[in-house]
Structure formats: structure tokens, C-alpha cells
Amino acid sequence: MLSFIIPQGHTMRHFPGSDDVGSVFYAKSPTELLTYAASVFPEVFKTASPDPNDGRKRLSFVSDKEVGLCNVVALSDLTSEEIESITEEERDGSIVKTVITNRTFPTREFQIILGDKNTVITMFPGPMAPPLPQNGERSEFWDNHVFIKHQ
């Protein structure tokens, strides 16, 4: 049996009904997603080691089915017209690339970050993205990925 603690509030932001415009799971709630993840990938949870820097467990999953819609996509997934429309904007003090499109980007990837006693810190669909670059730093990931904005 795998046990988790799900704090109220923050973890709901990537689920249907949230006001957040970011990536969103198809699962209706964190309990539904965690139940799915823990029953399909129990070994990932059982063998995960905490990050020595902050004690958090960062777990990456690739499901055999689509789990949600991602709002961070690789440049290679965009059409040439979309690439031409890329603009830059400031987000959380960083300059990021954004693209406006009507397309959605389903994903089979998702991430779960757990703290002490398997307390859920966050979970989101899509790849594990590094922190946004600060003070003009370069990031290979963010050089090749853009945020989606829907029209």
C-alpha cells in the first residue's frame, strides 16, 4: 500500500475547474491521478530517492495513454507559422517565449513532486521543466520550449 498526503489548494491548479491557464490533467482530481500513478507505476514510488539538496522526490512518468494537455511544448512540435509568431514576454521575472495557437498539445508525460511523508508538493502534465532562467542566464530547455497561449 502506498500512502500520500494531499494538502488542499495548490495541487488543484493543474486539474479541471482550476482558474489556472497552465497545463491541465484529464483526471478530475489529485486523488484520481495519484491512484492511477500509484497503481500503474508502484515501483517508481517505492524506489524513488529524495533529492539530497531539498529532500524532495521528483518522479517522472510516461503513461501508455494521454494524461492531460501541456502548455509547454518543444519548438519541434510547432508548425512553421507558429514558430514565426513566437514572441517574448516576462513571466515571474524571466523572459520566456510564448506562442498563440488554437491547437492543444496532449501529453503522456507527467511529473509528481513529493516532500516529507509523501506529501504532494505539485504535479503537472508534461515534461519536467527546469526553473525559468534568471538574470539573462541561458537554459537549453527553455531555449527549445515555449509557453502556449490560446486565442
Binding site: M1, L2, S3, F4, I5, I6, P7, Q8, K28, S29, T31, E32, L34, T35, Y36, A38, S39, V40, P42
Partner: protein, 416 residues
């Protein structure tokens, strides 16, 4: 880690209110009507009167009292992960080692408005620890409904729709848990008395001899194993308790195709005969007896008690139900586990008490008439000896008669 090779479980509840058959049929479809050949087969093992009391068969005319016996079945066949979430603490338990396939839902109607329902689950391949944890929670479904996942609750919607106002607590009208009937095929190394006790009581596995709060005392454990189990053959042993019936079947060596076939035969027998025809019968007995005993304890009148009891005795309370020894043996074991004899004795006591009260009432009536008669005779004697024709004496007789009737009425009112 110990696992069940094969396991099958029924969680059985009883519904307090009488349900309109149309309401059940709307959700579950037409009732199950057994084919004549199935009926004939069952009648070759069990007495016909017993089969008529438990199933409905094509072309079989049943006594009027048994015409309300029906079985409704809805296939579900959904494999789901089981998780439990406590919204207050934010704690989520995912039973990743519990392999749950909800096979179907059943509703069983019996005379006198007794309605049972069952959730049928195949949990083959589950770790025994997750299996007992899952059973301990599912049997408390009516009081813990909110903790189950939406997917699980969605699968049980047809059952939930049978209780008024979706009040899931009414899924158990008597007691606080669903009853469990379970069979499990275990590897010979896991086929131990300890595991039988732990699975039967939905306790954590290998808890016996630890300091855990659920670790039974030696005396209790040994008395349970001695008094509540039977093992007529070397390859299985069963335990019957108030809340569960559990049969553990032993598997020696590799579980190959031949053993799989043998298991399928065993499984059908345990489900179609021992669960369907015996365990449910004992639950009908239990439901009838405990409801009538409750009525007495709560001082509720039941003018039909004797009539109902006579009919139930005729159709559901005799001991020999089969031509073979094993069904009768299991019947006795299940009755013992559910305390049927104790309930019957209690009902018998209350009937005697009611009879005593009736006798007292009759005595009261006779006494009242005797008083009136004595008073009238006394008046006659007085009139003859004095020669006077006093107008006050009839008045006194009237008062005595009124008082007698008043006492009688009060006595009857107290009886109610």
C-alpha cells in the same frame, strides 16, 4: 509476499425498507430465472423445498409465501484500482497490491420484505495484506462512502439507487458492516490457521503473536480456531464468524492449467451452492430473527409475529437442507457463526412472554366478570334477606363493572 492465487468475495448487505420490484427491475433488468435443468440438478443435491425457498426457476410453481423470492443480477466486470481518501486529513491510501475486478451486483428478494444485496469482487492475485485491508474498508462502505474513489462509487451506483434519498448508510439496515463471504486459493505455505483467522477477521497479515492492537489473545484465537472452523477434507478449511464466512483452499505445487480448471469447478460450487443457497439462507434467518427480536426490545407490537414465524419455520428454519453431508455441515457452521440459535432462543422467550401476557389478559377478563357476578349475587342475597329494593345497589354494581373494564383497558394498553 503472500498472495492469493485465486480469490472471490461477496459483500452482502440488507435493506430495511421494502423495495418496489419495478424499481429494482428498472436498474437491474429482469430477474434471474434458472433453467429447468439447473433446477433439476440442484434438486438432486438439495431438498426441493429448500431450492424453492432460495431461487426462482422456469416453470416451477411455488407456494404463495415464496412467490416473492427473486434474484436480480447486473454484470459490471470493471477492473479498478482501490484507493481511500480522507478529506479531513488529506491522507490518500492507494492499495497497489490489491487487484480488484468488480464482477457484478446482486439483489435478492425474500418473503416478508427481506431484501439483501451483494457486491461481487474477484480479487485474485492480491497481496494478502492489501486484500484484508481492502475487505476491512469495503465492508464499512455504508459509513465510509465518501472515502472511496469516484470510479468505485460510480460502479456501485445501481445499488445506491435502491436506498431512499441516496442515503448510503441505509445500505446496512441492521448492524454497521456488510457481511463477507469469501473463498481464496492459497499456496500451501500460506495455508495456515493464522492466515485463516486474519483473512476471516480482515486483520493485517502475520499479526498473530505481535504486540499490535489487533493481535488476538491466545485464548480467543485458539477458541476461534477450535470452535468456529471446520475442515472435512485436507485441502480446505473454513471459518464462520458473525461478520464473515471464509474458506481457504490449499494449492500444492505449481498452479498449472489443470489446477486452473479444477479451481473453476470449485469456485462455481462455492458460489452457486454454498454462498447462494446456504449463506444467503442463513442471512435471511438472521435478518428475520434479529428484526423480530428488535421489535420486542423496542416494545413495538407485531400482531403477525406468530404467523410469520410459523411460515419462516416451515420454509427457512429446518436443519436438513441437502441429501449430502457437506451442505448440512456448512449450514450448521454458518448458523453457529451468525448466532442463529441464540436469536431463535431469544425469539422463543419473547413469544412465551407475549403468551403469558395474553394469559394474564384473559385472567383479567374472567376476574372482572367474576367480580360482577359476585356483586350481583350479593345484591340478590341482600335483596332477599332484607326484602328492600334499594336503588343504590345497581349503581354500585355499575361502578364495579366500569372499574373492571378500566383496569382491563389499562392492562391492554401496557401490553402494547
Amino acid at each position: 509476499m503472500s498472495r492469493s492465487i485465486r480469490s472471490h468475495v461477496f459483500f452482502v448487505g440488507n435493506l430495511l425498507h421494502k423495495i418496489d420490484l419495478k424499481q429494482i427491475a428498472n436498474v437491474f433488468g429482469a430477474p434471474v430465472i434458472e433453467k429447468p435443468e439447473t433446477y433439476a440438478f440442484l434438486c438432486s443435491y438439495f431438498h426441493k423445498s429448500h431450492i424453492d425457498a432460495m431461487i426462482e426457476a422456469q416453470g416451477q410453481k411455488r407456494p404463495k409465501f415464496l412467490e416473492s423470492v427473486h434474484h436480480y443480477h447486473l454484470e459490471i466486470n470493471r477492473t479498478l484500482p482501490l484507493s481511500l481518501f480522507n478529506a479531513k486529513t488529506g491522507n490518500l491510501d492507494v492499495l497497489d497490491e490489491y487487484k480488484m475486478s468488480i464482477k457484478g451486483l446482486h439483489v435478492y428478494c425474500f418473503p416478508l420484505g427481506i431484501t439483501l444485496f451483494a457486491i461481487e469482487i474477484d480479487d485474485s492475485g492480491s497481496s494478502l495484506n492489501d486484500l484484508t485491508f481492502a475487505h476491512s474498508r469495503i465492508r464499512e462502505l455504508p459509513s465510509q462512502w465518501k472515502e472511496f474513489s469516484e470510479e468505485f462509487k460510480d460502479a456501485l451506483k445501481p445499488i445506491k439507487s435502491l436506498v431512499p434519498n441516496d442515503n448510503v448508510r441505509d445500505l446496512v439496515s441492521r448492524g454497521n458492516k456488510l457481511k463477507i463471504f469469501q473463498i481464496a486459493l492459497l499456496d500451501s505455505a500460506d495455508w495456515t490457521d493464522g492466515h485463516l483467522y486474519e483473512i476471516a477477521t480482515s486483520s493485517p497479515i502475520d499479526i498473530i503473536g505481535t504486540a499490535h492492537v489487533l493481535d488476538p489473545s491466545d485464548d480467543y484465537y485458539h477458541s476461534m480456531i477450535k470452535e468456529n472452523t471446520i475442515a472435512p477434507f485436507k485441502n480446505w478449511k473454513s471459518m464462520s464468524l458473525m461478520d464473515s464466512f471464509t474458506a481457504l483452499i490449499k494449492n500444492e505445487g505449481a498452479f498449472d492449467e489443470e489446477k486452473e480448471k479444477a479451481w473453476l469447478g470449485d469456485e462455481i460450487r462455492w458460489i452457486n451452492s454454498y454462498y447462494r443457497l446456504i449463506y444467503l439462507r442463513v442471512l435471511v434467518q438472521k435478518t428475520f430473527l434479529s428484526s423480530r427480536n428488535d421489535q420486542y426490545r423496542l416494545n413495538q407490537s407485531n400482531v403477525h409475529l406468530m404467523r410469520d414465524l410459523t411460515r419462516m419455520e416451515q420454509y427457512y428454519f429446518y436443519d436438513n437442507i441437502s441429501y449430502n453431508f457437506l451442505p448440512d455441515m456448512l449450514n450448521k457452521q454458518m448458523e453457529k457463526g451468525l448466532g442463529i440459535n441464540e436469536e431463535r432462543e431469544e425469539l422463543s422467550t419473547q413469544i412465551k412472554e407475549r403468551e403469558n401476557k395474553n394469559t394474564n389478559t384473559l385472567t383479567g377478563i374472567v376476574s372482572a366478570f367474576a367480580i360482577i357476578s359476585i356483586a350481583y349475587d350479593f345484591y340478590g342475597l341482600l335483596k332477599a334477606s332484607t326484602g328492600s329494593d334499594s336503588q343504590i345497589m345497581p349503581f354500585i354494581i355499575g361502578i364495579i363493572a366500569t372499574l373492571s373494564i378500566l383496569i382491563l383497558v389499562l392492562h391492554l394498553a401496557r401490553r402494547r
